[in-house]
């Protein structure tokens, strides 16, 4: 990406995250099922990994979690950021290595990524002394995970499309956007490229006369 298109993508991502947190803090509360609200910020974090690969998933996931952290009060700043970063990276890595080109699995992968983000949030939070996260018990945590996963699956395709728009170059057309959502961003390494990068000797022909 050129500097200009990088800046444009950054602005678009920030706009999406700002919209996400506004929707989370208002509309999200209207969607509560058994007192559990969807987690739109983690949805955006894992969607960015699904669209942009592990690196962009980590960066956007971190940013998404950080923005969410600013609107919480009982947990330290950085906890959601860390969970979003790791979840975005994991989903991006999974997509780049095993699921390239399969948009149909987006709801499943995004739902699993959201559950992973929740688990990381609770486990890391517990480790750093946030015992209240596990106080209501395992059954309640499973309920939260189930509701968040269902909501993530429902909203996965719009979130992936939104992130594809935000992370795409400014000259993107609607057709290119859907192509981005299906194949990931240009420059996102696929499984063969990653394998080749790990073992360059296998693809290099030895000069004649040299063993």
């Amino acid at each position: 990406l050129t500097r200009g298109s990088w800046a444009t993508a950054t602005l678009k991502v920030l706009a999406v995250l700002a919209l996400g947190v506004l929707v989370q803090t208002t509309f999200g509360n209207d969607l509560r099922v058994h007192d559990v609200a969807p987690d739109f910020m983690m949805l955006l974090a894992v969607s960015s990994g699904f669209v942009g690969g592990p690196d962009q998933g980590a960066v956007v996931g971190f940013s998404s979690g950080f923005v969410a952290d600013l609107f919480l009060q009982g947990t330290p700043v950085g906890l959601s950021a860390l969970a979003g970063c790791l979840a975005g990276f994991s989903v991006g890595w999974l997509r780049a290595n095993y699921l390239r080109g399969r948009l149909v699995v987006a709801p499943l992968v995004v739902a699993a990524g959201t559950v992973l983000a929740l688990a990381l949030y609770v486990v890391v939070g517990y480790i750093v002394g946030q015992q209240q996260l596990v106080a209501p018990g395992d059954a309640w945590l499973v309920g939260v995970a189930a509701v968040e996963a269902v909501y993530a699956a429902v909203f996965a395709l719009p979130a992936v499309a939104l992130m594809a728009w935000a992370l795409k170059r400014p000259s993107a057309t609607p057709a290119a956007l859907s192509q981005t959502a299906v194949e990931g961003l240009p420059g996102t390494p696929d499984r063969r490229q990653l394998a080749a990068a790990r073992s360059p000797r296998r693809h290099r022909r030895s000069p004649a006369g040299v063993r």
Binding site: V21, L22, L72, Q73, G74, V77, Q132, P136
Partner: protein, 267 residues
């Protein structure tokens, strides 16, 4: 890149944890809330009809049950001429029994509840009063009935209140009519409070009222109604009673609250 972000996250968590509720991170959070406030109102107004529709759809069973329950309740009330006193009356009765006047002498400001906390892991509400109205972090918040919680963070015209049933919320509580003191701890939305640190052998029974203890280092004035004891049990081998209490205030339906302009130094 991942390693750098993980280290950055861990650093932020550490610094935020150490800075407490009045440090730089609390200020950043309050500025973020302040900045988002007008946009939140706009987004909420725009999406509320959709939200209400979806809420009605996904909670249809629950609403139907609630409707049925309310019909039965209404019929029962009409037939039995309503014996139970309202929560506020109950709290007033507790105060009268203790010869205390509820909230008298403590200045307060009324506030409207404008939102709920966005996390599934904390029970909090947003109110439309902030530092410009004299609200500061730590002040007690009450509603008709009794204690609701305390101010957790504040910006110019908004404040976040940590609610009594938040798992991280603890308040010293005294059983009315006895000298028994324990700690009432939140246990998640809709769940009864747990009253801890009451030794086996202490005289506590179902129906006893709890008020804030007001002991030194407490963040609440003495005598605010907290809740009613729902159950008391003493498991074999345990050293302390297992006590559950229902909050006096209706935490599920908070629309207006009062912030007590009180600090522990005044107490």
């Amino acid at each position: 890149l991942l390693l750098v972000l993980v280290l950055l996250g861990v650093t932020l968590i550490t610094l935020s944890d150490r800075s407490g509720s009045t440090g730089i991170f609390a200020k950043v959070r309050s500025y973020a809330r302040e900045a988002a406030g007008p946009f939140q109102s706009a987004v909420h107004s725009a999406l509320q009809p959709v939200g209400n529709f979806i809420y009605g759809a996904v909670n249809y069973q629950s609403l139907e049950r609630q409707n049925q329950y309310l019909r039965e309740q209404l019929a029962a009330d009409q037939a039995a001429a309503v014996q139970a006193a309202s929560e506020e009356e109950q709290a007033q009765a507790v105060m009268a029994q203790e010869h205390l006047s509820y909230l008298s002498g403590i200045p307060s400001v009324a506030a409207r509840v404008v939102g709920l906390g966005s996390s599934n892991f904390e029970q909090s509400i947003e109110i439309d009063m902030g530092s410009a109205d004299g609200v500061v972090v730590g002040q007690p918040v009450v509603a008709s009935g009794g204690l609701v919680g305390s101010v957790e963070s504040v910006s110019s015209h908004l404040a976040s209140v940590s609610v009594l049933d938040d798992p991280g919320f603890t308040v010293g509580a005294r059983v009315v009519g006895t000298g028994v003191v324990g700690a009432a701890v939140g246990d998640g939305e809709g769940n009864p409070l747990q009253v801890e640190d009451v030794n086996i052998g202490e005289q506590v029974k179902k129906g006893d009222a709890l008020v804030t203890s007001g002991l030194p280092l407490e963040h609440f004035p003495a005598g605010l109604p907290v809740g009613t004891v729902m159950s008391v049990s003493s498991p074999s081998g345990a050293l302390q009673l297992v006590i559950r209490a229902r909050p006096f205030a209706d935490l599920a339906d908070l629309q207006f609250v009062r912030v007590l302009l009180w600090s522990p130094q005044q107490g």
